[in-house]
């Protein structure tokens, strides 16, 4: 990056470090922090949407929809979520390729032949002729969907509980005014549920942050991948010979996560304080008393 870096063997001390930390592969490492933040930014709203759908479905009056919602919210109980992270992307990938196989391929050959999953070239996802970045985006999309499905189920749990916690009298009053069920949901239920949902949702956000290293298991080149590549003594992506420095790289990653959770805790604490203001809850009452002695 710097002009004096052309011959790193003569450098030492700080100058050497500044060169070492600005190599092309290190730039990719720094960019991968952005990948993690991007995943968080995309996944959180989608998961919230999935959660809202799941919670509404489990409150539905139509039995099959209700069963679907209940099964979806119960799905994550009892089963480690890492299983879903491994299962959902492969299952989705194969499901899509199978559908395309049915639609695009002429052959009637079954997709499962022994231990192989075979589809014709036209049904491959993404097409083997497509450029590198399409493959990257496809892998990232599958990862986002896997995260959204799992965290949507958790969010559905939280939102369902929050909807149950809204005082029944509020909804009954709205019904007495002649509002339709749809109006009751939109005007009364949804605005009031947030204060009950916030503790659960902030907990979920912290968990989502701490689940992002699992991207590595899905084959995304995230911070864990680069920390292993750059720190390892014998990896392909790196020319400079050095002993095993993975410990230091992982320490950097650890500090990044500690910083993320610390900042989130602060921000969420502020938001909670803001939302409890004037609420008829224990916390809101405590806040009122603290201000007016």
């Amino acid at each position: 990056m710097f002009s004096y870096c052309s011959d790193p063997s003569v450098l030492d001390g700080f100058a050497w470090l500044s060169c070492y930390l600005t190599t092309g592969t290190h730039m990719l490492f720094y960019a991968s922090f952005g990948v993690v933040l991007l995943l968080l930014a995309i996944t959180a709203p989608i998961a919230l949407l999935f959660g809202y759908g799941g919670a509404m479905a489990s409150r539905s009056r139509i039995a099959p929809i209700r069963w679907f919602g209940r099964i979806y919210t119960a799905m994550v109980r009892g089963v480690p979520d890492i299983i879903f992270f491994l299962f959902v992307p492969i299952a989705l990938d194969q499901g899509l390729e199978w559908l395309r196989h049915k639609a695009l391929c002429d052959s009637d050959a079954p997709v499962r032949q022994g231990n192989d999953f075979v589809v014709c070239a036209a049904a491959k996802l993404p097409l083997s002729t497509s450029p590198e970045w399409v493959h990257d985006i496809y892998a990232m999309t599958l990862a986002v969907i896997a995260f959204s499905v799992v965290f949507g189920a958790f969010a559905a749990n939280v939102l369902y509980g929050a909807m149950q916690a809204v005082p029944r009298a509020q909804l009954e009053t709205a019904e007495a005014y002649g509002m339709t069920p749809r109006q009751v949901t939109r005007r009364i239920l949804v605005p009031q549920m947030w204060t009950y949902a916030l503790p659960g949702l902030s907990n979920l956000w912290m968990i989502l942050i701490k689940a992002t290293p699992l991207l590595f298991l899905l084959g995304i080149e995230d911070i864990v991948y680069w920390a292993r590549e750059l720190g390892g003594a014998k990896t392909s992506s790196f020319a400079y010979p050095h002993p095993d420095w993975r410990l230091y790289y992982f320490l950097v990653v650890l500090v990044f996560y500690l910083l993320m959770t610390w900042v989130s805790e602060r921000v969420l604490g502020r938001v909670t304080a803001r939302l409890t203001q004037g609420q008829a809850t224990l916390a809101g009452e405590a806040q009122r008393k603290a201000v007016a002695p």
Binding site: D81, L86, F87, R112, F154, N157, R246, L247, L251
Partner: protein, 274 residues
């Protein structure tokens, strides 16, 4: 090959007993169920010992966190922040890299050579990480419970002349456990689920002796078929989770036996991975 023979061959494969080679082709359902079940031994091992050691460590940490002495309180706070604020996945990586750096030949302490190579093995290294992790999470639970022990209970104990250890042992501790037990049950379930991370992070599976998810992903990788192996491991975990809830429910009833009607059913509130 009959199913009974498969169970004999692979039932204890995860411990290194029985057939050495894993099946390579023509996987039967029986093989998958047996091998994944065999791997479950590791999950149960990690969960059991991490909970056992973590429980006592967590009690100590919770007490240190309530202490007025900053030399006790600050380290406890730091420890809890470190382990609750970072992903378990990274903790595994970091611990493995750190343990591998220990000298092969062992460390000399007071002229004695202490072997260290066993620390980098999953059975010890991962167990240490899981123990510290669950201790941090449970300490937070226990601390919250300790803070909500009724003032009257403590005053009554003091009126009887109880102090120090006696007061803690007979009044504070049982009440703390009683209050913390529902959330501690959730913590135990999550620790059990977190044991699946061991062989997916830093720790390698020595001679392919892995946990249930390790074998499940082996089958899924070999057959390109996720629809058999993963539901099997999911089924095992649902059964084990139900058993765990049952066991902790018995303890909960025992802790609440002096309060008729207080032993409400423990509600399982998921909290996911860390």
């Amino acid at each position: 090959m009959s199913c009974a023979q498969t169970i004999l061959d692979y039932g204890l494969r995860s411990l290194g007993i029985g057939e050495r080679l894993l099946p390579r082709s023509d996987f039967t359902l029986c093989q998958q169920v047996t091998l994944i079940g065999s791997g479950l031994i590791w999950n149960l091992y990690f969960a059991f010992f991490a909970l056992l050691f973590g429980f006592f460590l967590a009690t100590g940490l919770a007490l240190a966190k309530t202490s007025t002495n900053p030399w006790l309180r600050k380290p406890a706070d730091g420890f809890i922040f470190l382990f609750r604020g970072s992903p378990l996945f990274i903790q595994f990586f970091l611990a493995y890299e750190a343990l591998v750096l220990l000298p092969r030949a062992g460390v000399e302490i007071f002229g004695l050579t202490v072997a260290t190579s066993w620390l980098a093995k999953a059975w010890a290294g991962a167990l240490i990480v899981l123990t510290l992790n669950t201790a941090a999470y449970s300490a937070q639970n226990f601390h919250g419970a300790l803070m909500s022990v009724p003032k009257g209970d403590i005053e009554a104990a003091e009126a009887y002349g109880m102090t120090g250890w006696t007061k803690f042992r007979r009044v504070l501790w049982p009440t703390m456990l009683r209050l913390a037990w529902p959330s501690y049950t959730n913590e135990a379930i999550f620790l059990f689920h977190a044991t699946t991370l061991v062989f997916f992070s830093g720790f390698p599976a020595f001679q392919q002796r892995g946990d249930s998810l390790y074998y499940a992903s082996y089958f899924a990788g070999q057959t390109f078929n996720p629809f058999v192996a993963y539901p099997i491991v999911a089924g095992y975990f649902i059964l084990c989770t139900l058993a765990l809830i049952g066991l902790f429910g018995i303890v909960n009833r025992r802790l609440n036996r002096h309060l008729p009607g207080a032993a409400r059913r423990i509600r399982y509130r998921p909290q996911v991975i860390r």
